[in-house]
Each structure stands twice: as C-alpha cells, then as structure tokens.
Amino acid sequence: MNEPFMLLPVTSQNKQTVIAIRGCNEFTARYGLQLSEPEIQLLTENRREALERSGRIEFGGGVIQKLIMEFSDSPFLRQENYLETLTELQECFYYFKNEALEELSDDELIKLMKKYFDDVCQGSVEYLQTTMLENYCRDVRYGTTKYRDMDGYEDDYIEFLDWDERE
C-alpha cells in the first residue's frame, strides 16, 4: 500500500523514449550517424538500467534526445562508435546528476560534458568521467567557485542551445 509506484505502468515510458530516439535519426543523418531499430531498443534498455543504477527516475522520453542532439556534431563521434559512446554518455549523465547534488540543470551538464569531451578528453568518456567531471562536481558539492574559473567556463555559462534553431 505504501509503495506509490505500484500505481504506474513502465512500458509506456519506454515507448516514448523509443519514439524520441527514432526522431533524432533525421537530424543526425547529416553527420553520418544513424541508430537502427535494435540499437534504439538497446539504448532504451540501457537508459532503464542506468536510471536504476543511479537511483533516478525519469518521465517522458528522457534526456537521451538532448544528448544525441548535442553530441552529434562531435568530431570524435563516428558511426562505428556511435551506440557505444551514446550508451556511455547516458550512463555518465545520470551518474553526474547525482554527483552534482541536483545543482546542475540537464542543459548545463550536457554542455559541460560536450565541451570537455571534444576538448581536453579527446573523445574519451572514461577520461571525461574520471577527471574533468569528477573535479567539477566535487567543486559543486563543496560550494567552491573554483569551477567558475575553469578555462572558458565564464564564456559558456548558461548559454543554452535553442533546439528549434538547430533543427
């Protein structure tokens, strides 16, 4: 009786994620990046697992659409590593949402990830996770403003992508 989520169906949320991911293919085609149906299903399943591992819950299509749109123009993303990188980025995203104690919005965190992925981390999600994001979120947790002084941070802060314009 005290478990509120017994009221909520799971399958409808997965459907929305699949639709959202499928919708990105048209945009990412210009970068030579496409996800097949089985790959979409795998990514959707990974989203569910990543959320479970990070102790988070998401309604609607999820953040994967924003991740795809933001990273699709990365020079380090190719069709050969597309699914694997997206899977790792998705996992990384939910992990660091917790690590930053909800202090970073989705857009802020995605922009940060993209900036360091393309720059210092040279396309390595592992490097992104274990160094740049780890340090950044530690600063956020301790309330130090050191992260504001990171290279290029002031220029990029709260410069949100306008999704409509990009499409």
């Binding site: 009221l7 309604f59 953040v63």
Partner: protein, 433 residues
C-alpha cells in the same frame, strides 16, 4: 454482481486514511468496479501528471529526479487526491469520480480542498494563540507559538502535501496516528482546542499547582495536561468536593481507597461515568468537550483498578506540593500539656464520633509529639491510624519517630523494631513511598 451491490462491498473501514487514494484504487480494482480500460487510463494520466509535476518541481531544468524525490512528489499527488475523495461522503460518488474525472483535475480539486483545510487549521491556531490557558508547561507553549506556526510557514501543498514539516512536541490525549499533512494538523488543533476549552474551566494557578504536584520538573516534561486535570477532577467528583480545587491530598486518597477498593471493574466504570456526567453538568462543558472527555473512561478504569489493588492511588490522583516543614506547623515539639488538661482532652477525643473531628481537636490543642504519641495509643482505633498519620507532614512524622526512638532508648532507625501497631504503620509509611 451489479454495480450497486459492488459499491456496497467497499466499506470505508477497508480504506487506509493515510493512503486513501491508493487503497480506494486498489479496492476498486479488486472488486471489478473499474474496467481494465479505466485502470489504464488512470495509470497513464498519473504518469503524465508525474512528468508535469517533476518539470514544475525542477523548473523544467531536469528530466530526471532521484527516486526518493519522485516518491515524495507522487505521495503528495495521491495525498491531495485522497483528501478530496475522503471528503466526498458517498462511496458511489467516490467511485464515479475515479471513473470519470481526469487525474489532473482530481489533483487540482484536491489541492484546493487541502488549502481550505490548511486555512481552517490556521484559524484554529490563531484562536488558541489568542485565548488559550497559559499553564507552566514549555511544550504546551512552544507547540502553540513556535511548532505549529512553523508548519504553516513550511507546508508545501503541491510537492509535500503528506508531510508535517514542524516540531510538534505537545501530546494530545487522544493521539492521531493515521492522517497526513494538513489533515493531521487540523485534527490535532481540534483536539487541542477541546482540551484547552476544558482546562479553561480551572484557575491557571490550580493547574500549575497540579503540575508541580505531578513532578517538580513538569514544566519541562512532555505531559498531557488535559489527562492530569481531568483525572483529578474526576477524583474530586468522587470525593464530593469542589471540582475546581483539583487538590487530592493523602487523607482524600485514603478515603477513596476505602470507599472504592471492594468494587469490581464494572462498578468502578459506572462510578467514573457518573462522576464525568456530574463534571459535565457542573462545569457546563460543551457537548463536544464532554464527548472527548469520555475517552478517558476506559483507560482510567483500568488504571484505577490497578492502583486500588496496589494501594498506590498517589500515582493516579495528584496532591499539590505541600509546604516545606520549615513553615510553622501545628505540631512543633513544644511544651507538653499539663496532665489534667491532657486527661480532659482524652475524654473529649473519646467522645468524638468522627476521626476528622478528633484530628481537629489534636490540631487545636497539641504542641508536643510526646503528647501526640500518648493520645494515639489511648484515643484512636486501628482503622484510624492511617488517616491520622497521613495528616502529619513529613517533618512531623520524623520528629515523632525520634520521640519513639528516644523513649525506647534506640539510637537509630536501622534495625529498630517498633512495638505498637500505630508505630509500625508510622515507620512503614515512608518506606512505601
């Protein structure tokens, strides 16, 4: 089974007041009152509403939240909906609402209803802050002036409807165990108002003295004043004395022990009920206050049975704190009476029919404990010993023991065996405390 019969299958007693929406939904599913389509519709609309509420909660900055936060938000949603349904009196109507009304609308109706509940509770609090009795009890005062206002400041109807974000320490007599959020606070304030209304029948000085008699540190204790005062009021009613005086001293307790100890539980309950009726009439209690006060009958009867059996009525009926023995007492050990006067006094005492009259004569005439000891042996019967000894203060009893020890040539109390029955009772009296 047609729908009308099915509606009757869901009884209010099967529904959990603290998770009302969930239990009504479950019962409706179990009894087949909701079709599969209706169940799916409700669930999908809940998912949609959750998504919207999480968006609002995060100012649309996050698509995901920690599971604990999502559970809280969902609990708040269902609490609001549950409150609205709870206040719909007819079970048929409740089910129809589930079937027909969109979840989003049910949630907003619920928030309006909870908001109204919160406003009513605020009104009750303002009244209490203005007019309540001001007894010497920190928790009582702090709850009304700090704890409860904190609730109204912090309460979040949209995202925390089920929570009670405040420190509410003072315990009401009939505790509330199964209500969430503002509903709990409204009910708490209703009960506190009833209790305060009863307490205002008494001078605050009497209530404070009763508290001190209960415990010297009662000012800092979490104790329900209503129960203490009502219990003593009932004791006063049983004694036939002024209800608002509240004090029940050792002599009165002895009288109660003698008059009640051979009654069985049922007879005791009837006595208490009659006392309560008399209290309601004499203090002109409001019907609601009187009905609330009746909740003491069952627990008080059980306690009374136990305390009578163990001769510990002092734990049930409280005596005001007695003045310290440093003050002037009737029995300062002064000069003994002349023999002739002592004999005349003995004659007078033997002629008295009532023990209370004998005690009055003692008080008016005796200054020496040695004289007192002689009169105890000559003029009082065994059944009177307890009452007379309890009339003495602790200080006087200590002097009396010393007088007895001196007369017997004993140096100390340890190991001393008194010879006479009244002396045995005297020496046992402090051991039993």
């Amino acid at each position: 089974m047609n729908d009308i019969l099915k509606y009757q299958v869901i009884s209010e007693s099967r529904l959990d007041p603290s998770h009302y929406f969930q239990s009504l939904f479950q019962e409706s599913c179990r009894t087949g009152l909701l079709s599969d389509l209706q169940i799916e519709r409700i669930q999908l609309e809940l998912v949609e509403l959750m998504g919207k509420e999480i968006e609002r909660y995060t100012n649309d900055e996050s698509s995901s939240v920690p599971v604990e936060k999502a559970q809280e938000i969902l609990q708040s949603i269902t609490c609001n909906m549950g409150y609205f349904l709870k206040n719909t009196t007819d079970m048929t109507q409740k089910i129809d609402i589930l079937k027909e009304i969109r979840i989003r609308d049910l949630f907003h109706n619920g928030m309006e209803a909870v908001s109204a509940c919160k406003k009513r509770a605020e009104g009750l609090l303002k009244e209490l802050q203005k007019n309540s009795l001001k007894p010497d009890n920190y928790a009582y005062h702090d709850t009304i002036f700090t704890g409860l206002p904190e609730f109204f400041h912090n309460y979040d109807i949209e995202f925390g409807a089920h929570k009670i974000p405040a420190g509410i320490d003072y315990p009401v007599f009939v505790t509330i165990t199964d209500l969430p959020g503002a509903e709990y606070i409204e009910e708490y304030l209703k009960r506190l108002t009833l209790e305060d209304s009863f307490l205002k029948s008494f001078p605050v000085t009497a209530v404070n003295q009763l508290l001190k008699g209960f415990d010297r540190e009662a000012e800092h204790m979490l104790v329900n004043l209503f129960e203490l005062v009502l219990t003593n009021t009932i004791g006063c009613a049983l004694l036939g004395q002024n209800l608002t005086e509240l004090d029940i001293g050792p002599g009165e307790r002895l009288w109660l022990q003698d008059s009640l100890e051979y009654l069985d539980k049922t007879a005791l309950e009837h006595k208490l009920e009659a006392a309560l009726t008399e209290i309601g009439r004499e203090l002109m209690l409001d019907a609601e206050v009187h009905a609330y006060a009746r909740s003491i009958l069952s627990p008080l009867t059980s306690r009374l049975v136990h305390n009578l059996q163990t001769r510990t009525l002092g734990k049930l009926f409280i005596a005001f704190e007695r003045q310290p023995a440093e003050e002037a007492s009737y029995y300062e050990d002064g000069i003994p009476m002349e023999d002739e006067k002592l004999r005349a006094l003995m004659e007078q005492l033997r002629d008295c029919a009532k023990t209370s009259d004998k005690i009055t004569l003692l008080r008016e005439n005796i200054k020496s404990m040695a004289d007192f000891a002689e009169l105890m042996e000559e003029c009082f019967y065994e059944e009177e010993y307890d009452e007379v000894l309890l009339e003495l203060s602790e200080h006087e009893r200590r002097i009396l023991r010393k007088v007895i020890l001196l007369e017997d040539g004993a140096e100390r109390i340890e190991g001393y065996e008194p010879q006479k029955l009244w002396q045995k009772k005297l020496f046992r009296l402090d051991d039993s405390k």
